[in-house]
């Protein structure tokens, strides 16, 4: 099918879809009027029941904790998929990497200074987001992404990358495995100490707004932060490896 024919087919079906969406939107509660029962209940019980002041994190890690566990496994699976997809193919030319092969930095000194200056604050922000997930906006997913961004800044602005980049970084692999396992173990701790899988009340109540409050929700956030940052670093490293395979090394 040619591209123009495809666009015609698309235009017809898009018009139909747009009509259906208009009908569907007309049946939704009008904007600003929604008052879902679950949302109201969660806002009411978050502080008295769990001492969690961030109702979104309370929803994600307590009310639907099992769902978030599976979501974490999605990230885990994506990292494994990236490693599996970006492996060396049979018949793909192997570039001989000599020991001591070093890729020269392609970045200017200004970029490198800026990068070095940004890494520290990025990591601090990431730890802050993870630690206060149950109190203020943030949490394991957000903090984990920012933490991985710190590693990406380091590589993007950084000096030399040593060849051969043969395997995913071991530390990141361990961290993302530990994060996924930690979430399940914290769930099992709920089963053992509180009687239900992913029950978060066993770790104590605490004062709302304090760092150690909201039961095991902060711990679950730490596990998620480890998992997400490790997985994203593995994915980024795999893409970096592809980039470096396409690059001609200079021998130092």
């Amino acid at each position: 099918m040619t591209r123009s024919a495809r666009m015609v087919v698309f235009a017809v079906s898009a018009a139909g879809l747009a009509t259906l969406m208009a009908v569907a939107f007309a049946g939704l509660p009008s904007f600003g009027d929604y008052s879902g029962r679950y949302g109201r209940i969660i806002a009411q019980i978050a502080i008295p029941d769990r001492a969690a002041t961030n109702a979104v994190t309370f929803t994600a890690f307590d009310v639907r904790g099992v769902d978030t566990m599976v979501e974490e496994f999605i990230v885990f699976a994506a990292a494994i998929a990236a490693v599996a997809l970006l492996r060396h193919l049979r018949g793909e030319p192997e570039r001989e990497a000599r020991p001591g092969d070093v890729l020269r930095p392609l970045t200017s000194p200004a970029v490198r200074v800026m990068g070095a200056a940004l890494v520290g604050p990025t990591v601090v922000i990431a730890l802050n987001l993870v630690a206060h997930g149950a109190i203020t906006p943030g949490g394991g997913f957000q903090g984990g992404v920012v933490l991985a961004a710190g590693a990406v800044i380091l590589v993007a602005a950084g000096g030399r990358v040593r060849l051969p980049p043969d395997e995913p970084p071991l530390l990141a692999e361990i961290v993302h495995g530990a994060g996924a396992a930690g979430f399940v173990l914290l769930g099992l701790a709920g089963l053992v100490f509180a009687g239900a899988f992913l029950d978060t009340t066993w770790a104590g109540h605490g004062t709302p707004g304090m760092l150690l409050s909201a039961g095991s929700i902060p711990l679950l956030n730490v596990a998620t932060g480890l998992e997400v940052s490790g997985a994203l670093i593995v994915i980024a490293a795999e893409f970096l490896e592809q980039e470096m395979l396409a690059m001609e090394p200079e021998s130092s």
């Binding site: 939107f25 009008s30 949302g39 806002a43 978050a46 309370f58 998929a81 970006l86």
Partner: protein, 114 residues
């Protein structure tokens, strides 16, 4: 107002879909898929909005203040995570496809190889 707000979600969905259909580069397809998925964020957040309500951070507001729905916000978080992982896997597929076919044009990827 209602039509306009939900219309943004519908428009993002359709415009992203149009981008996927007319794209001649799989990287473009992945980016357009991101646009399609962002329509779901807009829709979810628009549904949960309550006029005059505060953000669902209960730290600094008096007890009982109406807040926007935290359930849809948590769902949006899930949505963002799924989009990020889908993008990563699709880009990895794009890299491999480029190695196989020497091109990123989806129309050039119809050949089968035994």
């Amino acid at each position: 107002m209602t039509v306009l707000t939900y219309g943004v979600a519908g428009w993002l969905f359709l415009v992203g879909l149009a981008g996927i259909v007319r794209s001649n580069n799989v990287i473009g397809v992945v980016i357009c898929l991101g646009v399609v998925q962002s329509s779901t964020y807009v829709l979810l957040l628009a549904i949960g909005y309550r006029t005059g309500a505060k953000a669902p951070i209960l730290a600094d507001i008096p007890t009982g203040t109406p807040v926007v729905d935290p359930v849809v916000q948590a769902l949006t978080l899930t949505d963002v995570v799924v989009e990020a992982t889908v993008t990563a896997v699709l880009l990895a597929l794009a890299v491999q496809a480029h190695k196989r076919f020497g091109s990123l044009d989806p129309d050039a990827m119809t050949r089968m190889r035994g």
